[in-house]
């Protein structure tokens, strides 16, 4: 199969060797689970349980609300202690509504008998995927069913399965592809059935030989499902870049990939689809790589969602806060965590505790315009010029240079010899752009309302004037008719409406 390439990119040192060969091990259930009702992009789920309720594994905790949303399920048997705001895995530890579950000692199996999914039609499959609360497991956490729905509408013919895992440290997808290839393939089969698509391409970076070999051996019908190897280069796993690697086409600005006839899902999403449709287990756990120089016993763990990061770290031998920086996700695009008292959620592909040696970065120095950032930018932007403009609050200038097209992959900041925190500037600039857009919409709406009020007032005045004229005319007519009819009898009602 002919493959293509994408612009820019970097080769960060992989640092996967410590966890690459560690089999997935189940993380024991903690005493308490903190399951946030928002673990996805879109509207938060609406709680369906309250304090004191007993819950069974896989039971609905919160229901998806609105078009872009996803339900949340109980990962274990236990009792809901309360539903309250609790810190989420976010750089500011933003509190979100969270179901706190006290886990029971005896646990029944999560899996349930279900009817053969390979006999269901596309609509039913899509509904079941939505009901299982499956979201993009690569970290984007966009509800999988919504993406499948768009793909169904656009009659997508190619399903791309992302096994790139281009972030340093992370090995959870690698392990999944090595150990659970059969399940992934069934998940892909089901997604193809749901989409009524012709073929699927599993894309794996060429630094994962064992995963490639395993999947290739399992793909017995390469015209339908095929595994391809792509060069290891960050951000290969980014949707736009991977689509370009496979199809040679760029997704036009403002369009969705489905309009090109392709849709992309992560290998872990395919696995989640398998678990939901074949085993009847909604998305209540995921594989997490716990790594980084500060972790004495790194691991690939199958973690019940809602387990606290601090539990995970303790399980892997990290003493209380004995690390320099804690991250959720990979070190390139992952988010910084201010503390470990936050739960693992659907998008947490890795918990990385970096040591002091790994985070040592010199102070930012002036930009010397070396333009390495321009060379590595996969979006074809000029990071140095964007940062220069944002620095002096020229947000419009940055916007006209394409700030919105930045995918925040961090390649520019990675190569910058002056150690300028470019992505930080871009986040700020994008925030400002968004705030301005909101402000502009507000102003527009205000102007609209003011104009309509003006129109209304004008109409009222006009109506009043007409009425007065009519009355005058009537009075004059009466006067003419009766000669001496009294004026007091004229109608006094008037048409003033409340505003």
């Amino acid at each position: 199969m002919k493959l293509f390439t994408f612009r820019g990119g970097v080769h960060p040192s992989e640092r996967k060797e410590r966890t690459r060969d560690l089999p997935i091990e189940p993380m024991p259930l903690p005493r308490r689970l903190y399951v946030p009702l928002q673990q996805h992009i879109g509207e938060p789920a609406v709680p369906r349980v309250s304090a004191g309720d007993r819950v069974q594994p896989g039971q609905l905790l919160g229901e998806g609300a609105g078009r872009i949303s996803a339900p949340v399920h109980a990962p274990a048997h236990g009792r809901v202690l309360e539903v309250r705001d609790f810190a989420s895995p976010h750089p500011a530890a933003l509190p979100v509504a969270t179901a706190v579950i006290e886990v029971a000692d005896q646990q029944p199996s999560v899996c349930r008998a279900v009817e053969d999914p390979f006999r269901l039609d596309g609509d039913t499959l899509a509904r079941r995927i939505r009901e299982a609360g499956i979201v993009g497991m690569g970290g984007a956490t966009f509800p999988a069913a919504v993406k499948l729905g768009m793909a169904r509408r656009d009659r997508v013919e190619t399903l791309i399965i992302n096994g790139g895992e281009c972030e340093p440290y992370l090995t959870c997808d690698d392990r999944l592809m090595r150990e659970r290839g059969e399940e992934i393939l069934q998940g892909i089969e089901l997604m193809l059935r749901c989409l009524d698509a012709e073929r699927a391409v599993i894309v794996v970076e060429d630094n994962k030989d064992a995963a490639l070999a395993n999947l290739r051996a399992l793909c017995t019908e390469p015209d339908r499902i095929r595994t391809v190897s792509v060069p290891t280069r960050y951000p290969q796993g980014s949707q736009k870049q991977m689509i370009q690697s496979v199809t040679g086409r760029e997704v036009p600005a403002g369009s969705h990939s489905t309009e090109l006839g392709v849709v992309m899902h992560n290998v872990a999403t395919a696995f989640a689809v398998f678990e939901a449709l074949v085993r009847g287990k909604p998305l209540t756990s995921r594989i997490v790589t716990v790594g980084g120089g500060a972790v004495p016993r790194p691991a690939n763990l199958e973690v019940p969602l809602g387990t606290l990061v601090s539990d995970l770290l303790r399980y892997c031998g990290v003493e209380e806060d004995d690390y320099e920086r804690l991250l959720v996700g990979g070190p390139m695009m992952g988010q910084w965590l201010p503390h470990a008292q936050v739960p693992v959620v659907k998008g947490s592909s890795g918990i990385i505790a970096l040591s002091e040696a790994e985070t040592r970065v010199s102070l930012p120095q002036p930009c010397i315009r070396c333009s390495r950032c321009v060379e590595v930018c996969p979006a074809g932007l000029l990071p140095l010029e964007l940062a220069k403009r944002i620095r002096k609050e020229d947000i419009d200038g940055a916007g006209s240079l394409g700030l919105k097209d930045c995918i925040a992959c961090g390649s520019c900041a990675y190569v910058c010899p002056s150690k300028i925190p470019l992505v930080q500037y871009f986040h700020y600039g994008k925030g400002q752009l968004q705030a301005r857009a909101v402000q502009a919409r507000k102003l527009e709406r205000t102007a609209e309302l003011a104009a309509s009020k003006e129109r209304r007032v004008e109409e009222m005045e006009k109506a009043k004037a007409e009425q007065a004229a009519r009355r005058k005319a009537e009075a004059a007519a009466k006067k003419a008719a009766a000669g001496t009819a009294p004026a007091e009898n004229a109608p006094k009602s008037c048409a003033i409406e409340g505003d």
Partner: protein
Amino acid sequence: MIVITPQAGPHVRNPGKVPSLMAKVVLALVPATLFGIYLFGLPALNTVLLCVVSALFFEGLCVRLVNKRLGLVLADGSAVLTGLLLALTLPPWAPWWIAVGGTGFAIVVGKQVYGGLGQNPFNPAMLARVALLLAFPLQMTTWVAPAPLFSPAAPDFAQSLTITFNGAAVPDSLSGATLLGQVKTDLDRGLALPQALGAHFSPLGQGIGYAAGSLGETSTLLLLLGGLYLLWQNIINWHTPVSFLATLALLAWVFQQLDPTSYAGPLYHLSSGAVMLAAFFILTDPVTSPATRAGQLLFGAGCALLVYIIRTWGGYPEGVAFAVLLMNALTPLVDHYFKPRQYGRTRRGKPLPLPPLEKMAPSRRGRP
């Protein structure tokens, strides 16, 4: 000073830093520098030391004045590089005030008044060279013939101090002229080019650099070696040097074909004056050159064109410094027009067109 650790990724960085970039450029200049010191003796060493030390001094002075962190700024290595580059373009026996004054001009007026590293529109070393050439034409064109260290003609330590600090005149036996200057004079005297060249030009001699000239510009091959090292180390792109050298060679070749008696060939131009130094060390200064590869190709070609025009029809025998400054002034314009194409957009910034439905697989044709 409050240091705020950015919360945004990436949380791992590649190890390259500005000081190590600068150190590698200085390292690449070492062979040519040592050769210049060997060729022109201890006064040349004085010039190099004076330039480097005064560069650090002026940089430190400016940094102090604006209360920046002294250690951090001096450690970035850019001042040392500017001082060294300027020294390499000076006449080797230049008096001390040329070296110190020129460096002061480069650092203070050429760089720090704009806000320091990364802010200057013009290459500081070239700016200083041009300023010195305009202000002190005599001192800046007093060349010496090679008098290698340890040779009988070489000045000893005491003499070198007299030459540098007391303005001792160059002895007649050692006064020389650069190839470019000599050929220009001969042409002006009405000599035909082949005669003028025949007397002074041998490609091999120019390549090795055993000739009168600026302190570090004479050895074309050693500068080329340093340039190749920078390319190998990924410090510079090939685009600027290749476009510069190729355009210059092409221009020289075309005019030589038109009239061999008036126009010298490519080897003459590539091996003389500041061309090699400029190709790999001056034009590749990232601060003052365009940011995109297409822009760099244009930048190199434009410089070559200007160099050729000034050398051939201008009033000065050498035009590299003027050419560089003129192109530096154009850099913002080049950067404005030469941007990379954004992902998913046309060159004009409009979204790429979606493929027509007929080209899609049959299953998609029925799309609403």
